[in-house]
């Protein structure tokens, strides 16, 4: 970095400052690289791999070979491509559920915090109520309700839009999961954003913006919400591995993704059956799963340090 101030130097935003701080954090940078590689394999390399659902009973439990890089499972399906396809589902569940929950959480929390009073009380009691119902129970009920609907959607898409059946099934199969997780994941974030907005709206720059003649909603969306994004980004990054975990848990319990579709949760579940005889079926998905979760968690920590200067050092 140079200390020289040139005439054309544009200001650095707080985001850019954070990015510069983050770049110095080796673990965080390594995590970004690891996660990018995982995504690259799951979403790009996967298309060039074998069909993950291709059964070949003659070749079950085969060890690593040039044909099947890390062997095959109990039905002779290629484990490598099953891991990559499973990764697609797991990562997408994490990302989409996070996007859904962050969007709902920010808007809901911001409106509650900004308008305050009775509106706030009613909105937050709704959140409290949802919080008081066990998470897994709601997900299970939603799954049961939505799975029928997802099957119908799949049939409709295949007959009306002529999509590939396998592909459509893979997507519609996990839709209920996206919804269930996204619909419930926003509760904590709504509380975080609400608290942020409540303190931000008393700040002078909000009064200044109002005194310029901006409407309340413009003030909220242009001036207040961008100021809440720091904690939100951290929370969102940390919730991606959380959702991946939930997906794995639910799939392990048989409530999430259904066989023959794969996800990391499904693979771990299937692998656990052969723990003593063919432990590679558990070990390989397990390793990838753990590495990804580690990377995302470290990334979240790195972001927290980078965005919240007060909490880290000086």
């Amino acid at each position: 970095m140079t200390n020289q101030i040139t005439d054309t130097e544009a200001g650095t935003s707080l985001w850019k400052d954070s990015w510069l701080r983050m770049r110095k954090n080796r673990i965080a940078v390594a995590s970004i690289i690891v996660f990018s590689i995982t995504c690259f394999f799951c979403f790009i390399v996967a298309w060039f791999c074998k069909d993950p659902n291709q059964v070949n009973l003659a070749n079950k439990f085969s060890g690593p070979s040039s044909e099947h890089w890390i062997g095959t499972d109990a039905l002779g399906r290629d484990l490598f491509s099953r891991i990559l396809y499973g990764g697609q589902v797991s990562i997408l569940v994490g990302l989409i559920a996070t996007t859904v929950s962050v969007t709902i959480g920010i808007i809901y929390g911001a409106l509650a915090g900004f308008f305050g009073g009775k509106i706030d009380s009613i909105m937050m009691r709704v959140v409290d109520t949802l919080f008081s119902i066990p998470f897994l129970m709601i997900v299970i009920v939603l799954q049961a309700v939505l799975s029928e609907w997802s099957r119908e959607t799949s049939v409709w898409i295949v007959s009306n839009l002529n999509w590939d059946k396998g592909f459509t099934d893979r997507i519609t199969n996990v839709l209920p999961l996206f919804f269930a997780l996204g619909l419930l994941g926003w509760l904590t974030l709504a509380r975080i954003v609400r608290a942020q907005v409540m303190s931000l709206k008393e700040r002078e720059f909000v009064e200044a913006a109002t005194s310029l003649g901006l409407t309340k909603l413009t003030v909220l969306f242009r001036h207040i919400i961008p100021n809440t994004l720091g904690p939100t980004v951290v929370y969102a990054t940390l919730s991606v591995p959380g959702f991946i975990m939930y997906e794995a848990t639910l799939s392990y319990l048989g409530l999430g993704v259904e066989s023959p579709n794969s996800s990391w949760g499904i693979l771990i579940k299937e692998g656990a059956n052969y723990l003593e005889t063919n432990s590679q079926l558990l070990i390989f998905p397990g390793i990838i799963f753990s590495i990804t979760l580690f990377a995302l968690n470290f990334l979240g920590d790195g972001l927290r340090d980078a965005l919240d200067v007060r909490a880290s050092k000086d």
């Binding site: 005439d7 200001g11 720059f205 200044a208 109002t210 005194s211 310029l212 003649g213 100021n227």
Partner: protein
């Protein structure tokens, strides 16, 4: 008729501990191009009365109970509603705040903030507004405005941020500028610069200024007329000269007496004893009675509130015998 006429403004806060009568019947008027000062201790209601005018107070708990504020002979700011008020805020009445460190949005470039009123009120396109904004920054003495405009607030010093706030408040050429203690958070040399800047811009643009402060030195520097506020009411109102020469009310005299520069070296500094009265209690009689050392405490009204009366031409004061003696 004046540009802005505030009559009997009453702003109460309805809190859990009762009704706080922050502003309790304040009247003042501002003429075109003139500067009036509102002086008082912390909590005397000077900021609240100006915030009420622009509807910047959170309601609830705040509630405007009574009064009117006729702007430009036509609009009553207190009853015209949010929609009309938005067309006045930032366009006809600009405002600058006490702490320049917090009154700019830390996540937005100066450019984006300063063009907001232009895009909103003048319906300018972004490019033209930017040109205008650079010009405005130049006017308030920001060096290299075309580079600085792309910076973020944290890259500016306090004095520069206050300059930006002034540029922003004046960019639409408003008729009134409300300055809410604009120099309190700045150090003395910068204070002087900012005061000079406000005065120059005022002269160039013909803006009227309502200057809220608790610094009498600042008042003597820039105001033509002064309102002294105490416990939500104006106790004395006169032109600046006679305020400093012939202060009438005991509170005004106490304030002047407690200016360090006016005191004999080596003696203990004079302070007004006690605290301002709790405005959540109904005050009967003279609000200043208990702290009145300069006048005659025993003569202060105890049963009825003193009337606001013109005792000399242009010199209004709360007519309490104890405070005037």
């Amino acid at each position: 008729m004046s540009l802005l006429e505030v009559n009997n403004l009453k702003t109460y806060f309805h809190t859990r501990n009762g009704i706080v009568r922050a502003v309790d019947g304040v009247s003042f008027s501002v003429d075109k191009g003139k500067t009036i000062g509102i002086v008082g201790e912390s909590g005397s209601g000077k900021s609240v009365s100006c915030y009420s005018l622009l509807g910047l107070l959170p309601m609830p708990p705040a509630k405007i109970e009574d009064g009117e504020a006729i702007f430009d002979r036509s609009t009553d700011l207190l009853s015209c509603g949010e929609k009309v008020l938005r067309t006045i805020r930032g366009k006809k009445i600009g405002m600058i705040f006490q702490d320049p460190m917090t009154s700019l949005n830390p996540y937005m470039r100066i450019a984006d903030q300063i063009i907001e009123p232009l895009c909103l009120h003048m319906k300018m396109d972004k490019e033209k507004a930017l040109k205008e904004a650079i010009h405005a920054l130049d006017e308030v003495g920001i060096p290299e405005p075309d580079n600085r405009i792309n910076m973020y607030p944290h890259e500016f010093s306090g004095g520069m941020r206050q300059r930006v706030m002034i540029a922003m408040a004046l960019i639409t050429n408003p008729e009134i500028l409300i300055a809410d203690e604009p120099t309190t958070a700045l150090d003395v040399t910068i204070q002087k610069q900012i005061l000079d800047l406000i005065q120059t811009r005022q002269k160039e643009l013909g803006t009227a200024v309502i200057f809220i402060t608790h610094d009498l030195a600042v008042i003597s520097e820039i105001c033509e007329e002064v309102n002294i506020m105490y416990a939500g009411r104006i106790v004395e109102k006169t032109d600046t000269k006679s305020l400093f020469r012939t202060p009438k009310h005991a509170y005004t005299r106490s304030l002047l007496k407690s200016i360090p520069a006016n005191q004999v070296k080596g003696e203990k500094l004079y302070t007004i004893p006690g605290l301002p009265p709790d405005t959540s209690q109904i005050i009967r009689g003279c609000a200043f009675r208990e702290r009145n050392q300069i006048g005659d405490q025993n003569e202060c009204l105890t049963n009825s509130r003193p009337e606001f009366k013109e005792i000399e031409p242009g010199h209004w004061v709360q007519n309490c015998p104890g405070c005037l003696s």
